[in-house]
Symmetry: C2
Amino acid sequence: MGVKDSKTEQLIKDTAKRLFLTEGRMLATTQDIADAAGVNRTLLHYYFRSRDVLFDLVFKEALRELRERIQSVMLSTAPFREKIENLINVFFEELIKSPYLETFIVLQMNQDPGKYEELFRTLPGGEQKMKIFFKEIQAEMDKGTIPEMKPIHFFMNFFSLMAYPFVARPIYEKMFDLNDAAFKKLVRERKKVILLSLFKNHEV
Amino acid sequence: MGVKDSKTEQLIKDTAKRLFLTEGRMLATTQDIADAAGVNRTLLHYYFRSRDVLFDLVFKEALRELRERIQSVMLSTAPFREKIENLINVFFEELIKSPYLETFIVLQMNQDPGKYEELFRTLPGGEQKMKIFFKEIQAEMDKGTIPEMKPIHFFMNFFSLMAYPFVARPIYEKMFDLNDAAFKKLVRERKKVILLSLFKNHEV
DNA sequence: GTCTATAGCGGGATAGAC
DNA sequence: GTCTATCCCGCTATAGAC
């Protein structure tokens, strides 16, 4: 493969990524993608064999990146509260880059939960890592900085507070008559709000 | 229309509802629905003209019911904390009946935000009603029972904590190796957890 | 590596017999 | 009101020329 080849291949992949993850056009056809990339539709098949393969590729790549960034923060040695702040920053950063990634994940997993299970199933050694994070959560409860609950509930709370506004974005936009700028402003504010809501010490 | 007619019509609608909302088969074809109902596929067109019409009918009905139940609690005269408890109960009751309703809403709104806007846009007089609820939230902050934030953030927090676990269900099931019973148990526990997380007085 | 042409299928929808 | 037969379209995918 020469330089020119891989350039076209990359162009198609990037375009697909943009349509799927940034613009939320999850049902974009091969023709849509080819048009947006300005190439002949057959090239999509030439490089990726089928729409499914391209689709999975984009999805898995984005998901792997998000997971790795989150995991690396989750397993860092930072103090608990700082770790939570870092997780919020990473999550929001990724979700602002790919506003539809979260919706995309939810959709895919609901459509065919078996297909991507290896992406979520605890990795070798991962279970141990999750336990370490859960132990940290428990330690915070013992210190009294967060309310008493099973660590898994704290975990669910955390991700619910971060992720839901992104998947429910169009609903909130209608409900409260928000434009793009207003929504983004809310999202920025939420970084503090989430901290405020997770910790018992209600000061920021 | 005789009795027999409307019986078939109802059967098709109920089956579609079951596939779409209970089993999460949101991409079920007209053939799938007809097969599941045990009727000829043409009857679906006979009664509902097109798949789209049937689809919208099911979606709008379910959504209207959920919205009405939530609104009636939200605007009741119950004390704030009791009102929140009632909202949690109503929401969970509906979501356990139709586990995919929330995912369905999110998906539809992301797919085509304009199509269903009248279902979310503030109704005539609705804006006023929302303002009343927001005033109640503000009053609670003044009393010091919930942390200080814009009411809209409290609102988002509340619905995030309730709704996200339902849309992310397949993810959590993989991630923590949960079976159906284990997930349902977690959801039941969350009623208390959500209360615990919303209010400053961290006792239940 | 890129194009044109075409095959093939799955799905929605309708006509018309019963 | 219910069925069979058929049409039509959009989309994926591939063969084969350049």
